[in-house]
Symmetry: C2
Subunit: 276 residues, 2 copies
């Protein structure tokens, strides 16, 4: 089944909450709120929020209670795309068939809209009850988003020469630039559901394997990153192994984890589009 169909219920909940959490465009000064809404709404697979909800469900929690951290992670992801697209970084004019935020609103507004989304992402975590859960989510998301996490990976990707980058460095870039936020997504689900330490660990390892698989698939499809140092056949096998490991971690959770299993399978199904 297609991702959009299978996760229809999740996606409807997420879109509604994202809309609700963003400042209205009518609020002065409108342009910044329009830019923030443009960067978040209408596009995107919502992969991270879906992961949060799937993990909550796998741990027997209430998905409604996970919508705030789910939005937080999507805001972090969105701000990182807005800033990464800037001329000083990747200098991209289009994203998902639309002009990038700075092409639409100007570089100044794109920088400030990214700042606004990052601030909002961590602000809304303060609205989670009870306070101790809010603080665990804040610690998880802010650490994963910061310079020991996503930003660190982005910096490494910028400074390391593409030609002589080795496997340990590729692992650093993948696990930080993409992996940390994917891992944080499922861990936030476990936190919201109040999972036991044992289940928390399984969820966390699922997130680590899935994050690495996610970046590897991207590299495979784009022909960069891991594709430069690992032969296509071997990279494909590596991805299959990572997906199998991820699925195995959550198997003990039974049918409750079927959405986590499905997400892993869907990631693998992106592969055959490109011939090896």
């Amino acid at each position: 089944m297609k991702y959009e169909v299978y996760f229809k219920h999740y996606l409807a909940l997420i879109e509604k909450k994202l809309e609700e959490m963003l400042p209205p465009a009518s609020q002065y000064p409108s342009v910044i709120h329009e830019a923030m809404r443009y960067a978040v709404l209408g596009t995107g697979k919502r992969f991270r929020p879906v992961l949060v909800l799937a993990a909550v469900e796998a741990c027997g929690g209430n998905i409604e209670e996970a919508l705030i951290p789910a939005c937080s992670l999507e805001f972090i992801h969105s701000y990182s795309l807005v800033h990464d697209d800037l001329p000083a970084l990747d200098n991209d004019d289009a994203r998902r068939g639309q002009p990038t935020c700075h092409k639409q609103f100007g570089e100044d507004m794109a920088i400030l809209a990214g700042d606004g989304l990052l601030t909002l992402a961590l602000q809304i975590l303060g609205w989670v009850e009870p306070p101790k859960r809010a603080l665990r989510l804040l610690a998880e998301i802010s650490t994963s988003a910061g310079t020991y996490g996503m930003i660190g990976g982005q910096v490494a990707d910028l400074i390391e020469s593409k030609s002589d980058v080795d496997l340990p460095m590729l692992d650093y870039i993948s696990t930080h630039k993409t992996g940390k936020l994917i891992k944080a997504s499922v861990v936030c689900g476990a936190i919201v559901a109040g999972a036991s330490a044992e289940i928390h660990q399984k969820i966390l390892r699922y997130g680590e394997y899935l994050g690495l698989a996610f970046q590897s698939v991207d590299d495979f499809l784009d022909g960069d990153g891991y594709s430069v140092v690992i032969k296509p056949r071997e990279l494909k096998q590596k991805i299959r192994d990572l997906i199998a490991k991820a699925k195995k971690e959550v198997r003990p959770l039974g049918r409750k984890a079927e959405k986590m299993q499905a997400l892993a399978d869907m990631l693998l199904r992106r592969m055959p589009k490109i011939k090896t």
Copy 2:
């Protein structure tokens, strides 16, 4: 007495804590941590952190317990300077006699260093005890820093035509761009000290008056903003009135508030340097 001498004890505590809260430059990827440290350490009056500690003292609290929110506010202020200095915004090459962050580390690193500082600023609030206090500080600082606060003021300052800006708009820009974070500084002090609702309100109003006075003095010295629509003599009187109102608010707190009184006086003393 000079600011640096009068607040020597506060400044030593703040510098030490800022140093401690920032990631070490040795941590990979070094360049981003060097850029963050460059943006924060070695320069700056630490006006916001000093305000936090002065407000804690005025409310009879323990200043050691306020060092984390004090650092948070300084990190927010520093990130906003790094991003505002970028070519797409104010395009400044120098700040306090040093090259701006993007001149020193490149635009890409300056954008990411700002993001790193903003993330760190809100992350460290999660380390405050007890949890309820941490969440009150997170709410106060994130709201003041966001698009309903500092970012909103910065956007208004960018989009409103300088030539036909009127007094209500100048008030919006001042209270948001500068005022919100100054108000948040003293309010954070009241939160840490567990001030009563009555004292909290006094502290808050002091912060509002002082924030407006702070921006007015800047405009007076720079010859822009309020200076464009208010005659120098009147602007000077307006500032004197604001300072008097701020001081009056905290008078009932007696000697404990002497540092808050001194800060207001020092702000006024910046004035005569320029002839009217």
